[in-house]
């Protein structure tokens, strides 16, 4: 096993830019099985800074209704991890920005962590977010494999994570940290409360080594720009998927969506 001879795009991105980053999440194989590639291409063209592609799973316990539904439809469409990696390879051939896969551990275990990493590295995946693979399990069983293929593992921090553990996660992270905005599953929230702002302030004051992006509940320009006062950027998922569900013109709607969030007011 050896690292492919190329720079990790997540590292490259944060070197270049560390403010107002927009990462967009969507579920592979949704709304239609072969939409994965073109949605990613439109996002890159529209100016998204990073793409997160969800690996659908039958039992997504950390996800709210919108992503649950998209995973269900994607599986019914016939999406598999095999096919997803092929699609990512195709997407990568025309897209430079970081590609991150987000999904639950079980499908990866079934493929085999080593062959998953090998194939993901060849497809051009830069990082993975696996919510149900905690830090300790990762370190004890899988870190060596991921690192040998140059794939970053992104860990989450939540409002109930202790300061001590935030430091431990910061020490073990590279690329970036995924900050979960509030206690809850994925899904849009109307706005960010005082309690959440306090939490973001607390994180900012900790002066973490790694940049951090805030996800869960970021849905529009207001929430995006509030978040960006504290962080390197934000991750939008459910709101984007809800838009896709109702769109019959991706080529217009995806750029509009990205612009509506990023545009300076």
């Amino acid at each position: 096993m050896k690292t492919l001879e190329k720079e990790n795009q997540t590292e490259e991105l944060f070197k270049r830019k560390n403010k107002n980053l927009l990462s967009v999440y969507y579920t592979a194989g949704y709304p239609a099985l072969n939409d994965t590639v073109r949605i990613g291409q439109w996002l890159a063209q529209a100016g998204a800074d990073m793409i997160e592609i969800g690996i659908p799973f039958s039992d997504p316990v950390a996800d709210g209704p919108v992503i649950q539904e998209s995973s269900k439809v994607a599986l019914e469409n016939g999406m598999t991890l095999n096919l997803l990696l092929e699609q990512v390879g195709e997407l990568r051939s025309g897209v430079k920005i970081p590609i991150v896969l987000m999904g639950y551990i079980n499908p990866i275990l079934q493929m085999g962590v080593a062959s998953f990493c090998e194939r993901a590295a060849h497809a051009g995946v830069d990082a993975v977010i696996i919510p149900d693979l905690p830090l300790l399990e990762y370190q004890e069983s899988y870190q060596g494999i991921f690192e040998s293929w140059g794939i970053k593992n992104i860990f989450m921090v939540t409002p109930t994570t202790s300061e001590e553990r935030i430091r431990a996660i910061d020490d073990s992270s590279s690329a970036f940290i995924y900050v979960v905005s509030s206690s809850g599953t994925t899904g849009a929230r109307k706005d960010f409360s005082g309690e959440q702002i306090d939490y973001l302030n607390r994180l900012k004051q900790m002066k973490l080594k790694n940049p951090w992006l805030v996800g869960f509940g970021v849905s529009n320009k207001t929430t995006f720009s509030t978040i960006c006062d504290y962080s390197a950027g934000a991750i939008v998922g459910s709101a984007f998927i809800a838009m896709l569900k109702n769109s019959n013109n991706f080529s217009a709607d995806i750029p509009n969506f990205v612009q509506s969030i990023k545009a300076k007011s």
Binding site: G64, L75, N106, E137, T160, T161
Partner: protein, 393 residues
């Protein structure tokens, strides 16, 4: 003890705590405190008192003479069906509610399949004056209606789980999502030996009272604590873990787990995890899991709502690995007929889950003078609709 969980939360290659970061503080608090709390004298006094005076323990070990004649063995029934609320589930909920109070939690959530765990949870919440929310698959709410009403009478809120096959797995997903969203004041009372470490060990300890009593009851009955066989049905595996617990280190005691074959192991409608499962991760632990080659969880099926689960607890996956427990399965038909037979022979209508354990006897080898303890995990009151619809009696 040989089959205890290790410090990392594993039984051999199974177990662990595969949880999202949102649940880490809660599960970590449990992990670091559960042993010291449940081993404290204050906890044990309260637990013993409630088990005796509220649950009605010890439950009888009943010699089933007509069943013994028919099946040609010496068969004892461990009467968990006589526990308050009608099943073994209450042994665990009593333990966990005391623990939750020690940990300063004020709200309780639970998942339920057959509704027995939900009722047992609603019951202890009423007892302790705690708010109670129970997630239950919509299909299960229909087939176990009396238990839904019991929970409501007890003051619990029952929330239908509408995803997947709308059974136990989906109710568990919803309960976990709720816990993720309410991490501070809420304790999740998991109803079987599943979930992230330390749940499997904690629930097994609370259920181990079953085998502790069997041992002393057999001493009174026959002069030594050992049966030749202990038989229990396996959904997640909590009644089995409790019935096996104090016999696991006695290799001469043959332990048998009976899973639900549904319409047959190869029918595509089954819940026989040890026959159909491969190692995987669901609901926080690595265990045997019914799944596709792509790692998607397969919707299980059984006529019995309490056995309708695509996994088993990691302890059982390990006991299978090392050959300590024999796993067999019984189909819907075999279980229903065993349930009707027990009703006729002994005047006991068993829960359909427990009827699987009785049906399991025809799948194992034993001699005429062997002593067999069957764990009768629950009573059939909740299953009358299913018995009536099945007919054939």
């Amino acid at each position: 003890m040989k089959y205890q969980v290790d410090e990392r939360g594993y039984y051999g290659r199974f177990g662990g705590a595969f949880i999202p970061e949102m649940l880490y503080p809660n599960v970590e608090a449990l992990r670091t405190t559960y042993l010291s709390i449940i081993e404290s004298t204050a906890f044990q006094n309260e637990m013993d008192d409630l088990l005796k005076n509220f649950v009605g323990r010890p439950t009888p070990l009943y010699f089933a003479s007509r069943l013994s004649d028919q099946l040609k063995a010496k068969i004892y029934l461990k009467r968990e069906d006589l526990c308050h609320t009608g099943a073994h589930k209450v042994n665990n909920t009593v333990g966990q509610i005391i623990l939750a109070r020690h940990m300063g939690k004020s709200k309780i959530i639970a998942e339920t399949g057959a509704g027995q765990h939900g009722v047992a949870t609603a019951t202890v919440c009423a007892l302790m004056g705690m708010e109670c929310l129970v997630y239950m698959g919509k299909l299960d709410m229909e087939r176990q209606k009396p238990n839904v009403e019991r929970m409501r009478i007890l003051g619990a809120k029952v929330v239908p789980a509408l995803s997947g096959s709308m059974t136990l797995k989906d109710a568990t997903n919803e309960a976990m999502r709720h816990w993720i969203s309410h991490p501070k004041d809420t304790h999740y009372i998991i109803g079987s030996v599943v979930g992230p470490h330390p749940y499997p060990d904690m629930v097994a300890r609370f259920q181990s009272v079953i085998s502790k009593e069997i041992r002393s009851q057999l001493i009174a009955e026959q002069g030594n604590p050992f049966p030749d066989h202990v038989v229990a049905c396996i959904g997640g595996g909590s009644n089995a873990a409790g019935a096996f617990y104090h016999f696991m280190d006695e290799p001469h005691v043959h332990l048998v787990g009976v899973e639900a074959a549904g319409k047959g192991i190869d029918s595509g409608e089954s819940a026989a995890t040890t026959a159909l499962g491969k190692p995987g991760v669901l609901h926080g632990s690595k265990t045997l899991l019914m799944q596709t080659a792509d790692g998607q969880v397969i919707e299980p099926y059984s006529i019995s709502a309490g056995l309708d689960y695509p996994g088993i607890g990691p302890l059982h996956a390990h006991l299978l690995d090392v050959g300590r427990v024999q796993f067999v399965s019984a189909t819907d038909d075999e279980a229903m007929q065993a349930g009707i037979a027990l009703s006729r022979l002994e005047g006991i209508i068993p829960a359909i889950e427990s009827a699987h354990a009785i049906a399991g006897l025809s799948k194992m080898n034993y001699d005429e003078d062997d002593v067999i303890v069957i764990n009768l995990s629950g009573r059939g009151d909740k299953d009358l609709d299913t018995y009536i619809r099945y007919g054939n009696y």
